[in-house]
Symmetry: C2
Subunit: 346 residues, 2 copies
């Protein structure tokens, strides 16, 4: 009669952890009561609940998240996908998401998509059953496909905007405008944008705002690339810029800018005397490279935190805030030593 947990079958997990049935038997109540004591404390008498909890504590019972997830479909896990784990730009984002997850009692799964939309999609599909939602950082997946994936899935975008999908981004337009104004005020008459991946939403936003502002201020603007958004891409990018006799270059991101600085130094060109260099992201290292990098900074940890929050909020009170929201966080230009007056060349 007693709901004995029949052996004859291996127990899961570290050496026979006690189950809800063990607690029930020991406490002299039904298993469902134990369950309720944990998940629905209001629906159990105070006495019983305390008794059950005490017994559970004595036995060292801990609910199995897997078993809990099976009937409900809720895993209390979210996945964070980033294009390149080793790009310091994502460190802050990862940490922000991680902290938020921790605070909300969720577990974070991290995956590297290697700058590939296909890998990213594969991960989303593979993980769909195991997580409650996704944060896609700097997703490389085309708009329509992102929208498709977000049907029937909880997806929040970081560093990317797609209609009808929740997102958190740093204001690229405003920041890019600041960059051009800064360069213009230093007397530069033209800028060269050294582009990153074609699929980068931030990249195309940057170029868009850069060229628009340049036109407005009467500067010439040219885009070269694409270049890999990593230090290794810097050599080709720098050489291309030198070939165009650029006096000021704006790199897709700081990593590329670092590579550019290195290449220019190798070629004996002085920054900023011969050429000014600007980056995006203000990553680790931007303040101690040579010369320190002028770059567009933004609250990247906040981006991670906010994007994760969107997911948790929707999960924890469904219905409320159903409308997709697009958050735009402010950016600001950090002027350091890599930009200076335009050389009098002509």
């Amino acid at each position: 009669m007693a709901v004995q947990s029949t052996p004859g079958r291996r127990r899961r997990s570290p050496i026979g952890a006690p189950t809800i049935h063990d607690v029930a038997r020991e406490a002299g109540v039904a298993a469902s009561t134990v369950s309720r004591a944990f998940t629905n404390p209001g629906r159990v008498s105070t006495r019983t609940r305390e008794h059950v909890l005490a017994v559970a504590a004595r036995l060292g019972y801990r609910p199995d998240p897997l078993a809990r997830a099976l009937p409900s479909g809720r895993t209390y896990t979210v996945a964070l996908l980033v294009p390149d784990i080793t790009n310091p730009h994502f460190f802050g984002l990862i940490r922000g998401a991680e902290r938020q997850a921790d605070a909300a009692n969720y577990t974070l799964i991290l995956a590297d998509t290697e700058e590939s939309a296909a890998v990213e999609t594969r991960h989303v599909e593979r993980l769909s059953r195991s997580v409650d939602g996704f944060v896609l950082a700097s997703s490389r997946i085309p708009d329509a496909q992102v929208r498709a994936l977000s049907k029937g899935r909880l997806i929040a975008l970081a560093n990317r905007e797609v209609r009808d999908v929740d997102s958190v981004v740093i204001n690229q337009a405003h920041g890019s405008r600041q960059i051009v104004e800064h360069l213009a005020s230093l007397g530069h008459r033209s800028i060269v944008f050294l582009a990153g991946p074609r699929a980068s939403w931030a990249g195309s936003r940057r170029w868009h705002a850069l060229s628009a502002t340049a036109k407005q201020l009467g500067l010439a603007a040219e885009r070269l690339g694409p270049f890999p958004p990593a230090m290794a891409g810097g050599a080709a990018a720098a050489d291309a810029a030198v070939g165009r006799h650029a006096t000021a270059v704006v790199a897709h991101n700081d990593l590329l800018a670092f590579g550019i600085l290195r290449r220019l130094a190798q070629r004996g060109l002085k920054v900023p005397d011969d050429m000014s260099v600007v980056g995006y992201d203000d990553v680790f290292g931007a303040d101690f490279c040579t010369p320190p990098l002028t770059t567009l900074a933004g609250p990247i940890e906040e981006v991670g935190r906010a994007a994760a929050s969107v997911i948790f909020r929707k999960l924890d009170r469904p219905g409320v805030d159903a409308e997709p929201r697009q958050f735009v966080l402010p950016s600001h230009l950090v002027v350091r030593g890599s930009t200076g007056p335009a050389p009098r060349r002509f």
Copy 2:
């Protein structure tokens, strides 16, 4: 009679994904046969298997990892715990573990332990039921407790050795010896070690080897600290070193070294003319800070990969390789601009 998947209960996951029963009904076989077709192909006739697989593909059936995990206890997930996600030292390690997990078809969970043994332990306990094993990177948990945790759990250590527990480390002793020899050959008569967290195994190994080699070579060696192993710790560390009239300092890690370089520059001291500085890890930035940092490099991505592999191997063929193994990977000194001849001070 047909094993209809009764509604009246919400289906889990994105809009009613097909289950094993749907496939079974459609294929005219039992659910168990479908299961076998996927997990035990040898125990089903080729004909049936192919038929089942075809039907499954047509229906878009994908096994639910959660449901699969419940009976078996195998989640195909491992957790990686690091003390500080934003320390670039761990980037390579994370990537290595991630890649290995991906290749072995495991999912990686990442958690930040904030340099705290308590947080680390909490994470291990909280995640125990949801993962098949753990990689603890630079664990701050005391030896005895690590051994205790590893009972009944699969744990591999990275950057840390504990008796009876699998581990992968970079050779600290050899590397530290190289550092002292390098410094001695430059004419330094004494070294100051600027220590990191007391709980850091690598840190104590470093100091141990450093001081031993110093004694051997007739150099004085002194240890100051602890300092936080981040750039922010550098100011105090640098000041302490200056107070001791050090000509050569060895920092707990590169992050601390970066902070020291910055502080020394602020104080108007020249590196390496007034003081030589050495770091550990060869992290991102070490080659482009000012001056570029002399540091002990190691195959950190390999550490992550190997530590993860230990787990996967034990999981995938239990019994084999049951004995704990300690891997020691080679390190090598990268000499850059931050070390130079000892100043003739006295």
